[in-house]
């Protein structure tokens, strides 16, 4: 079967699309990246995109274009015949959905924080009130597990890893009290395709945030 060509469209940063990139790498799918460097460039393409809800990221597969990160991830799972990534049984699927809710909420929250320079001076307070309670919850959930749902890698591991990665860049001590989450991160990093991708220039040269983000990472 001929492999349909895959193009991922996004802003040329890690941003919110990175879990999809890691998933593509993990699944061993060949893909191209269309990196938009300006709103004008995107606006021009957006008008012609044949998809019901044009947005970034998008995935073009053959002549079909898909948007919404989760839908893109689902598509790739079906495309690669890896429905095990949804969960090994109904209970895992439900658990994964619950974890995804928590990860989505915390991600949306810290992205809003990053994009609002007026809040940056209060980062420690923000982490204490908004981030640590959720991390504690996830850490408890992760006890005794290899990946966040259990023995088997799940789609939600990709979103979780990326969220923890960004939080770690914002505060290098953020996971100090969460050994189960550190364990999960290490196991994810150790996946050969993930490890290879993280060592690649494509990953290392990709900025995390858009140039418009006024956030200064502590180093």
């Amino acid at each position: 079967m001929a492999e349909a060509s895959i193009t991922l469209g996004y802003w040329g940063i890690q941003g919110l699309a990175e879990p999809i990139v890691k998933l593509l790498e993990y699944l061993g799918l060949k893909y191209q990246v269309k990196a938009y460097t300006s709103p004008e460039e995107w606006a021009a393409d957006k008008a012609t995109l044949n998809t019901p809800f044009p947005n970034l990221p998008y995935l073009k597969v053959g002549d079909k274009t898909l948007t919404e990160s989760e839908a893109i991830a689902y598509f790739l799972v079906f495309h690669a015949n890896r429905t095990d990534l949804f969960g090994a049984n109904n209970d895992e699927r439900v658990q994964a959905t619950a974890v995804r809710g928590v990860v989505s909420d915390v991600t949306r929250d810290f992205v809003a924080f990053i994009m609002d320079a007026s809040k940056h001076a209060e980062q420690d307070k923000y982490f204490e009130e908004k981030i640590h309670p959720r991390l504690a919850r996830l850490n408890a959930f992760a006890a005794g597990k290899k990946h966040i749902i259990g023995d088997n890698l799940n789609l939600v591991d990709f979103a979780l890893f990326h969220a923890l990665y960004i939080l770690g860049k914002m505060d290098s001590k953020v996971l100090d009290n969460y050994p189960n989450l550190q364990n999960i991160i290490n196991n994810f990093n150790a996946i050969p395709q993930i490890n290879a991708y993280h060592a690649s220039d494509a990953f290392k040269n990709k900025p995390l945030l858009p140039p418009t983000a006024a956030y200064k990472f502590r180093d």
Binding site: P52, F53, L66, T67, E68, S69, E70, A71, Y74, F75, F78, N90, R93, V94, Q95, T97, A98, R100, G101, V102, A136, R137, A140
Partner: protein, 226 residues
């Protein structure tokens, strides 16, 4: 007796604040699936604090679903759980393509519903309303309307979990502005089809539904009284 005990175990508990908001799609789903449930609704922080303590669950949140010993949080996970419990996996989508489409629509609706919540809690909602409709609500309604063309439910012939969220979005938007769907006939048709589902219709005629506010009374946007 054993029979009574089994019947009680067959009743799940859905707990939330005494408003529609995020729990309403789940209440409609429970009704549709004929799952017996206790509609636990908290009016005050104290009520929730007391219940939280009795629940004895490590990370309690609202809404939650309790089924026997099991406690589950996160609205989407609760929806999934109920679909599995009722053996209605068709509600996820009857083909892979439908499942992907439904996931896409859910992403769009989740953003939309969040924007509605922000509008309702915006102290300047009255003055901002025309702008919010023009810039945020109408563009999405238009795209959803186009997507809905020729369809019985939002994904196609078959009802889907996302229909419950879509209906709640359309219902709420129409309560904000009675004319909100006038330009979107496909969405009106889908809302009407959904409302006419016997279980949904019966639920909407119940006192429980009719007496429940959409959002908190303290919210800046004042909905018409239920």
């Amino acid at each position: 007796s054993d029979v009574y005990k089994r019947q009680m175990e067959d009743t799940v508990v859905l707990a939330y604040w005494h408003i529609q908001s995020f729990a309403e799609p789940l209440r409609m789903l429970l009704e549709y699936l004929h799952i017996k449930y206790e509609d636990k609704a908290f009016h005050t922080d104290e009520e929730w604090a007391a219940d939280k303590k009795a629940l004895n669950f490590p990370f309690p949140n609202l809404p939650y679903l309790k089924d026997g010993d099991k406690v589950l949080c996160e609205s989407e996970a609760i929806g999934y759980y109920l679909a599995f419990k009722a053996k209605r996996i068709d509600l996820f989508g009857t083909t892979e393509d439908e499942r992907v489409q439904a996931t896409m629509v859910r992403g769009v609706l989740a953003d939309f519903y969040r924007d509605i919540g922000q509008f309702v809690w915006n102290p300047n909602c009255a003055t901002d309303q025309p702008k919010v409709f023009e810039e945020k609500f109408n563009p999405r309604l238009k795209r959803l309307n186009d997507f809905a063309a020729g369809k019985k439910h939002i994904i196609g012939d078959n009802i889907n979990l996302v229909d419950f969220l879509l209906y709640q979005v359309l219902y709420t938007v129409r309560k904000i502005d009675a004319k909100a769907l006038d330009a979107y006939p496909n969405l009106q048709a889908i809302a009407q089809t959904f409302e006419n589902i016997p279980e949904i219709k019966a639920y909407h005629e119940s006192d429980r539904f009719k007496s429940r506010p959409i959002y908190d009374d303290e919210a800046p946007f004042k909905f018409p009284a239920p």
